[in-house]
Symmetry: C2
Subunit: 469 residues, 2 copies
């Protein structure tokens, strides 16, 4: 199985950087969610030249290249599946380039760096790459999936913070394409680079990027808020945005079940004076100005008091941001402790957000009564993690039931003009749902996506997402 | 000359909406800069259905479609040139759709609306589309050229504020492609829509867009600043960004010659206590917070006083923003009064900005001593309008001299890693320079741009920009 290719890869990258079939370490094959994959071999190139040479070898030997960053993705795009022809290309050693430009506030860096490594290096300069996630992906993986996160409301997604890309192509095999020159303002060419962002590694292997950096905020004020019901949620959102606009760096929604998972046995009275609310909001303000010049905590507190009097807010906790964010980030872990998690990464127009939530939970109660809904999400940008738990005590979940569940809910998403992948990407995990969705919403999208994929990868040598359906 | 096509177009859109050859009104043929064009006919469809039908007719009759919005572009992309086969498709009547979603803060609208019309309708809701220009283009034209403007530093370009597109394609002729569903967060498909943004109307006719809107700031503070020399310019920029980050909504640079053009005979003592500085800065802060909560004028004034004491600022005027912006926006008009303007729309890495300026003006003085440099630009995002005036008294400028001038300066731009089109687009006006630039910087970019253009428009039926060079 590709043994000749692997021998050449050893010559190219060194023996220690190549693993064959059964010898591949488990972490390369086991994704963050869902079952393990398999591959004919794994190779860890250190430079773009090596990536290019490997792509040429793959073409000669008829291998399929699956690029993988930190393997934190949730749609299996980085997990190989074919033991006879998949060459897993790990980008974790791509770390040759790290050029920080403090005047432009940009960094040009190799795709193998992790988000945490980047932000550690930036902190001493008062800067950060503001795409904020629970996971710690590689830069290449973040680009391949156009990750969003909790601060997207203020800073935008990965796409909005990318100024340039270097990509190794499948055809001509190993060709290196540079998109953009890392400038803030540039309209001197077609926007080819954007095609690769969010393409799940299907159009090229991203080896380097130039990213836009932001000044680290000098203060944050965070509140966990219990609105008096679901009705006031979006009016509160609108008020906050009209008052504070760009100072609002997060506006998250958390259902009671998700709150309970985040509490993880902790006493709720730490958080609310009464019982847990049906739905809570996490509201964060942040600013480059220090608190002496602009008192964000005071602004937030004063507003919450007035909303308490007006009756739209029932309870609220202003706290050290770490404690509240800790609660928020423990939700996923708490849910996994309860059983099998089925996570739908949706986004919806805000007008349809609560309607979908209501219809979705009613549908769930009717058709899958044992499934527990514990949704939460980035309400400020329309993102909703419609996560469900199949309780351990209910026994294994039949694949057909999971499929029926997903299909039913995705149909509802399409009916409300929503997206079936807000920020996780597509990949093989969503392949079937993706094709069904776009066949319903816009068949021309499938048709054109296929043409573009065939243009960049006519022989199917890259990734396992089929954009044509 | 396409008379059968024009007859069918009359049947489709009505007699009043079609003009043939010599009967085409001058404004459709005369661009904002450079000489007039010509066309076989002009048609003004009112709906996407009519645009689609016209594209089919054009294919049948072998016509080339040149889409035109408000005809304010500076690269002639909307100006037809071929009297025998060009069909000018004006989008100015495309105004059927205008759906404002106050909860999502988005608008879905037809491409024919002008920026000013959009912002007038938004003002009553406390919102605006924050791409701020001197011209008043159509929404379709802004998308086709991905305009930037003076507030890009804070709000991003048109691309960053676009959530969805509707495009009519050349092949299959008249096919309507919808890219995105207008959601803030969506990674459920390849990012095909981005290809059309900044493509100068060469890949499809944009008929509709969904745009992201921003809250109107409640206050602005603007200062015109004379730094003590060129040395402190970027240190001042860095200080401002580190202090105020996202509150900084403009940071413009204006050379003395451009200042003089903007003054247009006005007494300079209105602005500065002494003589005009060699280089001035326009710095604007803005915020959604009212002045009672955050005193932007006070912040700016206090900082300027400290910089005056530190010696980095020699003089400064804090004024009503209209007066300062008026001066800034009169520059182009003032230059036109002096002679023929050659405008280069550049952007450069900040580290190379002043070096390029110095080398460029030295090269100019050596090779084209009669040419007067009067540069200004969006220093905050690296944009530089390297504008030059060929004085009226010097007689006509020979085309060969203009070409040599552009070539010499564009070579210098490439050597410094800059862009030859920051925000105006490419179009036929920059065709030659574009091809030369990318042949030098990255031949693969030309190769891939050509493949993509051939994919969308295999028979050359759309626009007059050749992305393959």
């Amino acid at each position: 199985m590709l043994s000749a290719l692997l021998a050449q890869a050893r010559g190219l990258c060194g023996d220690a950087q190549v693993q064959a079939g059964d010898g591949i370490e488990a972490r390369y094959l086991q994704p963050a969610r869902y079952g393990a994959g398999q591959a004919a071999g794994m190779v860890r190139p250190a430079t773009v030249t090596e990536v290019s040479a490997l792509m040429t070898l793959a073409a000669e030997h008829g291998a399929r290249v699956i690029a993988q960053g930190a393997h934190t993705g949730l749609v299996r795009a980085g997990t190989p599946t074919d033991a006879s022809r998949d060459l897993l290309l790990s980008t974790e050693r791509l770390k040759q380039v790290f050029e920080l430009d403090l005047l432009d506030r940009t960094v040009r860096l190799s795709a193998g760096f992790r988000l945490s490594e980047l932000n550690e290096r930036l902190a001493e300069h008062g800067l950060w790459f503001p795409v904020d996630l629970s996971a710690d992906p590689s830069i290449g993986g973040m680009l391949a999936h156009n990750t969003g996160g909790t601060r997207m409301l203020r800073y935008g997604d990965v796409r909005a913070n990318t100024l340039g890309l270097e990509v190794v192509l499948a055809e001509p095999a190993g060709q290196v394409l540079r998109c953009g020159q890392g400038l803030q303002k540039d309209n001197s060419a077609l926007a080819l680079g954007h095609l690769f962002i969010g393409s799940s590694g299907s159009l090229g292997v991203i080896t380097e990027a130039t990213l836009k950096l932001s000044p680290l905020p000098r203060q944050r004020a965070v509140a966990l808020v219990a609105p008096s019901g679901l009705g006031p949620v979006f009016p509160l959102y609108q008020t906050v945005m009209q008052r504070w606009g760009v100072l609002v760096s997060a506006f998250e929604g958390i259902s009671r079940a998700a709150l309970e998972a985040g509490l993880h046995g902790q006493d709720p009275s730490r958080w609310f004076s009464g019982t847990l609310p049906d739905y809570a909001l996490l509201i964060e303000l942040s600013s480059e100005l220090p608190a002496e010049q602009l008192d964000l905590n005071g602004l937030l507190q004063g507003w919450l008091e007035s909303e308490f009097e007006s009756g739209r807010v029932a309870d609220a906790v202003l706290d050290a941001d770490e404690a509240i964010w800790g609660l928020r980030h423990r939700i996923s872990e708490g849910l996994r402790a309860q059983g099998k998690v089925i996570g739908l990464d949706l986004s919806l127009p805000r007008r349809a957000f609560m309607v979908f939530r209501e219809e979705g939970s009613a549908w769930l109660a009717l058709h899958h009564p044992q499934m527990r809904l514990a949704d939460f999400g980035h309400l400020g940008d329309g993102g909703m993690h419609f996560n469900m738990v199949w309780p351990t005590e209910a026994g294994p979940l039949a694949p057909a039931q999971e499929l029926a569940l997903r299909e039913g809910l995705y149909r509802l998403v399409a009916a409300h003009g929503g997206s079936i992948s807000a920020e996780h990407g597509v990949g093989p995990q969503l392949q079937q749902a993706y094709a069904a969705h776009w066949r319903q919403v816009s068949p021309a999208t499938l048709e054109w996506a296929k043409r573009v994929q065939v243009l960049f990868d006519p022989h199917g040598r890259l990734g396992s997402t089929h954009w044509g359906g």
